[in-house]
Symmetry: C2
Subunit: 241 residues, 2 copies
């Protein structure tokens, strides 16, 4: 693929139009035993629980205390953790980002006793580097939170913030005591999953997939594999994998 795209011939693509998009969870880093963003949200709930005795009787926190993870639901849990942690001077994007990055950097993974940031699939980072060396812009298009991924993707994958597409909460611009802030609201704005990933690619990148394009996936042995056309992977029922 890279040779066909970069060398003269019928499949050649000009460098400026070379775009490669990657899923994140389960593709660039693991999604088992838990989505890492969910694990992080659970950590936040635990860390903040002593300041919130009311959580013992409020869902989804009550279920978490009782170990019923599934009852909480990943996205709702994270949103609730974020809301519970809010005060007027602490919830602008920069602060949320810093705090996430810090926790993700320092916390050991659930089962492997090492930081999440060491769980990146090395063959995929090598593929990202190969594509970039060949003139591709590499993007993440994931159901994960857009700001959560921006906190880690540059360091882990070499992907800058403007090449991250993900799920997002509603936000609002405000001046607080003359200081401009973008405030996160406790409401989902866009869930970047299934067919909506195609919608998001159009909205953020604005280029139609090359009909000769390919999707890369990992094989069980963790070697990236060229396995078909990305849009062919999406059927009317909206399955993305």
């Amino acid at each position: 693929l890279v040779r066909n795209v970069t060398e003269p011939g019928p499949e050649h693509v000009p460098a400026a139009a070379r775009v490669a998009v990657f899923d994140n969870d389960g593709t660039l880093w693991p999604e088992q035993p838990l989505y890492i963003q969910l694990a992080f949200a659970l950590d936040r709930v635990k860390a903040l629980a002593p300041q919130h005795p009311e959580w013992r009787t409020t869902q989804p926190f009550k279920g978490l205390h009782e170990g019923r993870l599934r009852s909480a639901g990943s996205w709702r849990t994270e949103g609730a953790a974020r809301r519970s942690d809010r005060d007027p001077h602490r919830d602008d994007q920069r602060r949320v980002r810093w705090r996430r990055q810090d926790v993700v950097r320092d916390r050991p993974a659930l089962t492997l006793d090492r930081p999440y940031t060491e769980l990146v699939y090395q063959p995929m980072t090598e593929l990202l580097a190969l594509l970039r060396d060949s003139g591709f812009n590499t993007y993440i298009v994931s159901g994960g939170g857009i700001e959560f991924m921006r906190a880690i993707a540059e360091r882990l994958y070499g992907i800058p913030p403007e090449q991250i597409i993900g799920s997002s909460g509603k936000t609002r611009f405000e001046l607080r005591d003359g200081v401009p802030v973008v405030v996160r609201l406790p409401e989902l704005d866009f869930f970047d999953d299934k067919g909506d990933k195609v919608v998001a690619i159009q909205n953020f990148i604005g280029r139609r997939p090359n009909p000769r394009g390919r999707e890369f996936r990992r094989r069980p042995a963790d070697a990236p594999v060229d396995c078909g056309q990305p849009w062919r992977e999406l059927d009317a029922a909206g399955r993305s994998h």
Copy 2:
């Protein structure tokens, strides 16, 4: 500014983080006597009117026939023109884009008897080139339609589709006879204006403005001028200029 950002010193910014955002209408090209996108939409209404006798009694078309432009409203007019022009095989994004580009290229402007595409402010294109030569990524952040601007911005300003931020309609991913398409729905998704431009910059680019950053505007003499900090231009009432 460019010297301070590119040379070693307290205001230096690494090349990857150099971002410059520009308004479009009234900044890179004219917005008088009409927004060019609105003029284009009116052209489409006129061109399609013979096939739609019902428009003589339906708003906003009736008002347009009677010359009452203001009563129609720019965004609603364009949306209506798009809807009226729809059939199942013609309204995917590529087709809409191609048709727009074609009309913008060929049609003379309202008062100057030359194509819209020759109305670009040359000092601004020189500034865009200077910034890019200095390692900046140049973006448009405009209230104009995101796909309308993508149809012209690469050729007029050298700005690629993924660096255009604008207003957008809701879209939906579908397979039609096995062909994947992104279908435009007759509904506004995001109006990129005033304080929401800051929200959009955060969502698309994900970098906080440099507190030492500057906003470029045209002076009456059409020379670009460094005139202050972008976020300072936005107050709680949401004024952007």
